[in-house]
Amino acid sequence: MTNKSKYQLICGLEIHAELKTKSKMFCSCKNDPFGADKPNIHTCPVCLGMPGGLPVANKKAIEWTIKLGLALNCKINLFSKFDRKHYFYPDLPKGYQISQYDIPFCEGGWVETSQGRVEITRVHLEEDTGKLLHKEIDGKKVSLVDFNRGGVPLIEIVTEPDIKSANQAKEFGKKLRQIIRYLEIGNCNMEQGGMRLEANVSLTSDGKLPDYKTEVKNINSFRFLEQAIEYETERQTKLLDKGESPVQETRGFDATKGSTFSQRVKETAADYRYFPDPDLPPIRFAKEDIERLQVGLPELPEQIQARWQEEYGLDQEVTNLLVTTSSRSELLEEVWQIAQKNETNLKKITVWIINNLELLTPTTWADQIFGKYMDQTKTTQIDESELIKVVKQVFENNPQETARYKAGEKKLLGFFIGQVKKIVGNKADAKQIIDAID
């Protein structure tokens, strides 16, 4: 859409993602806001901001932030610190959020997309806020606060305004999520707010950065991100065509209407009165610390997919399905190496694994998986000629369906698989049955 227009989209993203450390960012409370069965159970004087509560930084969260920074090709600051960002909101118990201001842990990285490189301005670490619930109790409207989420480690990734299309924004977001999940530092569960998206959108007709931008908030899926940017592009195009300039403002996204709406017009920049948090000593790293993390960084999703396709001859669809987390990738490779040693068909075992993904848990060993595969395929597997016989029988028993299927009604495939399964049970999987039907 933007391609046809006389305006070029200029878009940068601000993405928040919660880290899945065991404890919260600045206290030892459990980091499990979504698993909590009651509000305010994972709280203490520190994350409730009670008098005298002091923050103590979670080292794991800092390490993970740097890992992400390295994966995003960032420069890591050897000296960094936490700052207080002041604003009032009932879900912010201290009256300030501990964040990072002028010296974030990571700066200046990039992510490649199919439509060009997106530069990363910074990656910093902060604490999440509590959650407000607006309810009616005994006929009275009340606002309640749940601090189970308050103090959960939250990383913020800010990009340069390098994004040129809504589609590219979506691709970038997905890539980022894949990397975070792959590093096993966050779940990025969008519905639960484990990953939150904001887009800064403006249009230019001469390639220069315009003097306004709209900040679209409350986006909780990549599809909505794409929709929101498309909607904004259209809205701003109309204004520019009329000779008006869009105003600098914060807009919300309405998922049901697929549109954005004005939330607040910023007249002056907010003054958060940042200053270094005196409760938290500055953080210094030795070069070796960062090098150690760099060396320990796993092969990233894109590279590992390419290598698997090359080394193991797997299809992209297959590798796409399998590349989720680094520990799972390691486990898979171990299974393949055992399979290769035992001269087992790599593609077959991979297909079997895809059908039994639940086996890939952190507590299983590669040889256990391989053993299971051998057991199931050796002792219970029906051989191919036997399976073809069964298929023929099913065709004969269902002449009408067979005719329709052969005439091209492909959705009947499921029906046939079901019929065959009834006879062979677990001795053959869907893939084998499909092969036999063909």
Binding site: P45, G49, P51, L54, K94, G95, D279
Partner: protein, 445 residues
Amino acid sequence: MREKKVSLDEIYQDVDSEIAKSKKLNIYTNLNPTAKDQASKQGDSPLAGLPIAVKDNYSTKGLTTTASAKMLEKFVPQYDSTVARLLGEAGGVVIGKTNLDAWAHGSSTETSDFGPTLNPRNLDHLPGGSSGGSAAAVASNTCLAALGTETAGSIRQPAAWCGVVGLKPSYGRVSRSGIVAMASSTDSPGPITKTVEDAALLLQHISGLDAKDSTTSPLAVPNFSQDMKKGVKGLRIGLLYSEVPELKESLKLLEPQLKVFERLGASVEPVKALDPHYAIGVYTIVQRAEVSSNLARYTGVRYGKDRSFLGSEARKRIMLGTFTLSKGYADQYYTHAQKVRSLFRQDFDKLFEKYDLLVSLSSPGFAKKIGATEGQAMFGELEDMLLEPSSIVGLPGLNIPCYRDEKTNLFLGLNIMAPMWQEARMIQAGYAFEQATAWNEWAKS
């Protein structure tokens, strides 16, 4: 007590009767109703159930903690501050919570939302502050020892005015966890006691690395009283601020006292340091900035009282701090103040190359009269001027009584400062002075 000369019961009887007698001094914001019961269960513990008065900005589990601020009038913490916990583990018992300037903002205890405390040495005078209640508690015999907190003078100045011992440890020696924050980068909890020996003992039990305060030091805690009786022979002592004009009268009284150190074999000479007036500016800016941030949590949403209950001193500090941190001003004020703070650090580093200890007056003069703070926006800063330079760089300091005025019964205090983590050295010098002079009546018994 260990020698069975006095029983725990007798101690509590004495303390109770002194508390009853001194009610009008307004020393305590609230008393611990179960103190005696708790004490009887302490057995052979190091502090054996002794009654300790605790400044009311230390969170004490189950015991109201107000910071002498109306906003927290009904606040009962569900947790102990680290120091209160350590005190309890050593067998110390909180006899009551002592009055302070509201939120510890002041040097008089006059700004307490629950009324001023009177100086037990002379009821027309102020006890100093902000740990005025704790210093008065010790001076009035309503406890055996007390805990205070110092941000810039708040232990040493009231100790000086009440004629007792006050020890401000190195910043990071004692945990701030659970103490209502004032200026986080300088807050230092410490003992206020009758003798230097008691201060060393109490400090021993409350010091050390705390997993709940990342600004505490990982350094091992030394035995503070090990070298206490070694004397001061050979120590080089530098006298600070002897050229400051407004101190002339007090210095006349101090200087003969310093001869004691010389008599005991130490050398004492005046030395020029960075003008303490500059510290007032640094301290005021940094402290107000941190106060404005630390008080942001008292929004009125919790603790049952809204912000209209904030006293005028707190409001002034919040406004000034908010201003100095604002965009466009932060560089001019806050960042600049931090730079001058570094200059003070360098100055002390240089001084300590030449001297083992530095001494000065603790306060420009004797305790001021009740009402002296009225209309004096910078009252505390001026009174604490001599303590601010060492406070803003985190150094330890010890106040000991060094002169008593016969007519008013008021005291002057000597401030002994040591390099970071060298509390033991100032304890050594303080003890030697105390033993060699007659100013501290308790040190003799």
